[in-house]
C-alpha cells in the first residue's frame, strides 16, 4: 500500500499551498513541545549541568592563588615580593604578597588564624618560614629560593663579588621532549561532555519525533492529515520542527558553556575549545537531521507506542556506538569513525575538543555528513510514505524496504 501524492505542476496556486504545509506541521510540533513541562525542565537541568561542570573544573583545576605572607620588616617583605615571580612560574597568575605585622607574635597569630598562609621571620642566621600545620610546597620553594638569593646577593655585595659572575654556568634549565598540555584534562572532559550532551539531546528529540508520528497513527488522525497534505510535507514538518528545537537546546548549552568559561576566567581554554564548540553545533544539526529521518520512520513503522522500543533500535545504536567508541576504541578507529556519516557528527567535535585534528579530516566529516543527511532523509521519506498509512500492525525495517510503492 502506498499513497498517491502526485502533484500537478500545472496548478501553481495549489502547489504553492502544498509547499507551505510543512511549516504548519513544524509549527505544531514546536508549539506542542514547548508547552510540555518536561521539555522546559530537561533544558534547564542540562544548562545547569554545563555551568556546574565548567565552574567545578575551574575550581578543582589550579586556580591562581594569592599567597599572603606575614612579615615584620622590609627586608622580609622584599623577599616575599621577589618570591611572587617564582610562585607565578607556571603563568597561572598566582602571587605572593607581604603582609606587614608589628611583631613575631603578631605574625604567628596571623598564621594561626589563617589570615596569612605563612610568615617569614628574620633570624640571626637567616630567615625562618612559619606555617600552621604545613606550608604550601610552591610557596615554600619560592620563599626559600628568594630568601637564599637575597642573602647570597647581600653577602656577595659585602665581599665585593659579582654575584652574576659567581653564578655563571650554574643555571640548569629544563626541556621536555613531549610537553603535557596544561589543559589536556579539561579538553578531555569537554570531549566527553560534548558526547553526552549530543547523545541525550539527540535521543530526547529523536524519541519525540517517533512518538509524535506514532501518536498520529494511534489516534488515526493520520488519515485526515494524509488527505489534507502530501505525506512528505508531514515528514519535512516534523524533521524541521524538532531539529529547530534540538538545535535551540544545543545552542543554548554551547552559549552556557562559553559564557561560564569566560566568567571563570578560563580564557586559554576558551580559545582552545571555541572552534570545537562552533563545529559541535554545526555537526549536531547535520547529524540530527539525518537521524530525524530515521526516528520518523521508527514512528511510522510502529502501530503503537510500545512498538517504538524495537523500531527505534537502529537510531539508538547509531547514537550509542560513537559513545562506546569514544570511550574504548583506539585512536585509528576513532579517526575512521569520525569521518563516517552520523557517527562522525558525534565523534568529530569530540576529537576536536581534544585537539590536534587535521583540517582535511574535519572537511571530510562535514562533507560526508551533508551527503549522509541528504541520502538518509531521502530514504526515510520513501519508507515513511510506504508505511505511515499501515496502522494495523508493526512493520520491520527490512519489510519496509521491500514494500512496493
Amino acid at each position: 500500500m502506498s499513497t498517491a501524492t502526485t502533484s500537478d505542476p500545472t496548478s501553481t496556486s495549489t502547489t504553492e499551498e502544498v509547499r507551505g504545509a510543512w511549516r504548519v506541521v513544524a509549527e505544531r510540533e514546536i508549539s506542542t513541545r514547548v508547552r510540555e513541562k518536561s521539555y522546559i525542565y530537561s533544558a534547564v537541568i542540562m544548562v545547569v549541568g554545563v555551568v556546574a561542570t565548567v565552574v567545578l573544573t575551574s575550581i578543582l583545576g589550579g586556580r591562581p592563588t594569592d599567597y599572603k605572607v606575614a612579615v615584620t620588616d622590609d627586608a622580609s617583605a622584599a623577599i616575599v615580593s621577589a618570591a611572587s615571580t617564582v610562585v607565578d612560574r607556571t603563568d597561572d597568575g598566582s602571587t605572593a604578597k607581604p603582609q606587614q605585622v608589628g611583631s613575631t607574635a603578631a605574625a604567628e597569630k596571623a598564621v594561626r588564624d589563617g589570615d596569612a598562609d605563612a610568615a617569614l621571620i628574620a633570624t640571626d642566621d637567616g630567615y625562618e618560614m612559619v606555617g600552621k600545620d604545613e606550608i604550601d610546597s610552591t610557596l615554600s620553594t619560592a620563599l626559600s629560593t628568594a630568601g637564599s638569593t637575597a642573602a647570597l646577593k647581600a653577602n656577595a655585595d659585602s665581599q665585593g663579588v659579582d654575584l652574576a659572575e659567581l653564578q655563571k654556568g650554574s643555571a640548569v634549565s629544563e626541556r621536555l621532549l613531549d610537553p603535557a598540555d596544561g589543559d589536556a584534562g579539561a579538553r578531555q572532559l569537554a570531549a566527553y561532555v560534548f558526547l553526552i550532551l549530543f547523545y541525550i539531546t539527540a535521543v530526547t528529540f529523536g524519541m519525540s519525533i517517533a512518538q509524535s508520528v506514532v501518536q498520529e497513527k494511534e489516534s488515526r488522525v493520520v488519515e485526515i492529515l494524509a488527505a489534507a497534505v502530501p505525506i512528505r510535507a508531514m515528514l519535512w514538518g516534523k524533521i524541521a520542527g524538532n531539529t529547530l528545537l534540538a538545535f535551540a537546546q544545543i545552542l543554548l548549552l554551547a552559549i552556557a558553556g562559553i559564557a561560564s568559561l569566560a566568567a571563570t576566567g578560563e580564557t586559554g581554554l576558551l580559545t582552545a575549545l571555541g572552534p570545537a564548540v562552533g563545529m559541535y553545533v554545526v555537526f549536531f544539526v547535520l547529524g540530527f537531521v539525518a537521524l530525524a529521518g530515521l526516528w520518523a520512520v521508527a514512528g511510522s513503522l510502529a502501530s503503537r507506542q510500545e512498538d517504538l522500543q524495537s523500531t527505534t533500535m537502529p537510531g539508538q545504536v547509531l547514537l550509542f556506538a560513537p559513545y562506546i567508541i569514544a570511550f574504548s576504541a583506539g585512536a585509528s578507529v576513532k579517526t575512521v569513525v569520525s569521518m563516517l556519516p552520523i557517527m562522525s557528527a558525534m565523534l568529530m567535535p569530540s576529537r576536536m575538543a581534544e585537539g590536534g585534528v587535521p583540517v582535511w579530516q574535519i572537511a571530510v566529516a562535514v562533507v560526508v555528513n551533508v551527503l549522509g543527511a541528504i541520502g538518509i532523509v531521502r530514504l526515510a521519506a520513501r519508507l515513511y510514505e510506504r508505511t505511515l498509512m499501515r496502522t494495523e500492525r508493526k512493520i520491520g525495517f527490512g519489510e519496509a524496504l521491500r514494500l512496493s510503492e
Binding site: M1, T14, S219, I224, M389
Partner: protein
C-alpha cells in the same frame, strides 16, 4: 462534478474494488451503500488519494484530479481520529491551515462550526475530555473547517442518536449546498430519507446506481388489490399479470404487459374494488436483491 472512473484496487492479488464507476452530482446528496467489506471505505480512500488505486482514476470536472484539488475536499474517515490531547479549537485551526486557510479565517470558521454544534464553550477544552457524541461533532467540523469544494464522508451518522442525525443532516445539506456530497451508510432508512442519488456496492462492484426514485422504479410495477369479495383467487385467470400472492380478498400482482388502468377495468368488470395501490419497493428490498 466528481466522477469515479473504473477504479480498481487489489490487495495481494485479491480484488477488493472492481472497476467502480459512478458520478457524484453537485447539489445532490449521494448515498453509498453496501454490505460490510463491499469496498466502500477503500473506494473513498482512493477518492481522497489516501490510497493509490491499482487502476482507474478520479475526475474532477472532467479531468484527472490534482493534489491541490483534493486538498479542497472535506473528508471524514471511517476510523475517526483527531489529536486526543489537543484543544478543540487549536486542532480545527491546525487542520484548516493544513488545507491552506489563513489563521484568522480558520479561527472564525472554527468558532462558527462549534457554535452550530453548541460546543462554543468547549473550544478551549482538550478533545478527549468531550463525550464521544461531541467528539463526533468535532470530527464533522474538522471535515467542514476549510469550506470544502466536495464532501466525502464515511459513515457520518454512525453512533448518533436520531435528534443528532437530523441536526447533522441539516448542517450537511446547508454546507454541501451545490457541491458534490458522497456519504456511506449502512442505515438504509436514513439513506432513503436523505439521499437524492444512490450507489450500491456489492463485493467490490457497483450493482446499482442512479436516483433513488429510478432505483425504486427498476423493479416490476407491483399493485396491491383488495376486492369486496372474500376470495380473490379468480384473478389468477387474468392475462398480462403475474400474481405474487393471494390472501382472502387481497392479492399482490406484478403487471406484465398491461397498464394499470387495463387491469383495473378488468377487475371492476367482475367485482367491486375496495383498494388498488401501487406498491413501491423499499430500498432494503432492492439492497437485499442486489446483494443476493
Amino acid at each position: 462534478m466528481l466522477d469515479i472512473s473504473s477504479l480498481s484496487r487489489s490487495y495481494d492479488g485479491t480484488l477488493v474494488v472492481d472497476d467502480v464507476t459512478f458520478r457524484v452530482t453537485p447539489g445532490r446528496m449521494t448515498g453509498f451503500v453496501g454490505a460490510n467489506g463491499a469496498g466502500k471505505t477503500t473506494t473513498m480512500r482512493m477518492i481522497l488519494g489516501v490510497l493509490a488505486p491499482t487502476s482507474g482514476q478520479v475526475l474532477w470536472n472532467g479531468s484527472p484530479i490534482t493534489t491541490g484539488q483534493r486538498r479542497r475536499f472535506g473528508y471524514m474517515p471511517e476510523e475517526r481520529g483527531l489529536y486526543p490531547r489537543m484543544r478543540v479549537s487549536d486542532q480545527l485551526v491546525f487542520l484548516a491551515r493544513l488545507h491552506g486557510v489563513d489563521r484568522a479565517e480558520a479561527a472564525r470558521r472554527a468558532r462558527e462550526l462549534l457554535d452550530h454544534f453548541d460546543l462554543g464553550d468547549r473550544a478551549d477544552d482538550v478533545l478527549d475530555t468531550l463525550s464521544l457524541g461531541n467528539q463526533q461533532r468535532v470530527q464533522i467540523a474538522a471535515s467542514l473547517i476549510h469550506r470544502p469544494d466536495a464532501l466525502v464522508l464515511d459513515e457520518p451518522f454512525s453512533g448518533l442518536d436520531p435528534v443528532a442525525v437530523d441536526a447533522m443532516a441539516s448542517l450537511l445539506a446547508k454546507e454541501a449546498g451545490d457541491k458534490p456530497l458522497l456519504f456511506s451508510s449502512h442505515q438504509l432508512d436514513l439513506v432513503e430519507r436523505l439521499c437524492d442519488d444512490l450507489v450500491i456496492l456489492s463485493h467490490g462492484k457497483v450493482v446499482a446506481a442512479g436516483s433513488v426514485d429510478e432505483l425504486r422504479g427498476t423493479g416490476p410495477e407491483r399493485y396491491r388489490v383488495r376486492l369486496d369479495g372474500s376470495d380473490a383467487a379468480w384473478i389468477r385467470g387474468l392475462r398480462g399479470i403475474e400474481v405474487k400472492d393471494v390472501d382472502g380478498g387481497t392479492a399482490l400482482v406484478d403487471l406484465d404487459g398491461i397498464t394499470p388502468s387495463e387491469l383495473l377495468s378488468q377487475l371492476v368488470a367482475k367485482e367491486p374494488v375496495a383498494e388498488f395501490t401501487r406498491v413501491r419497493q423499499p430500498l432494503s428490498a432492492i439492497f437485499r436483491e442486489v446483494n443476493r
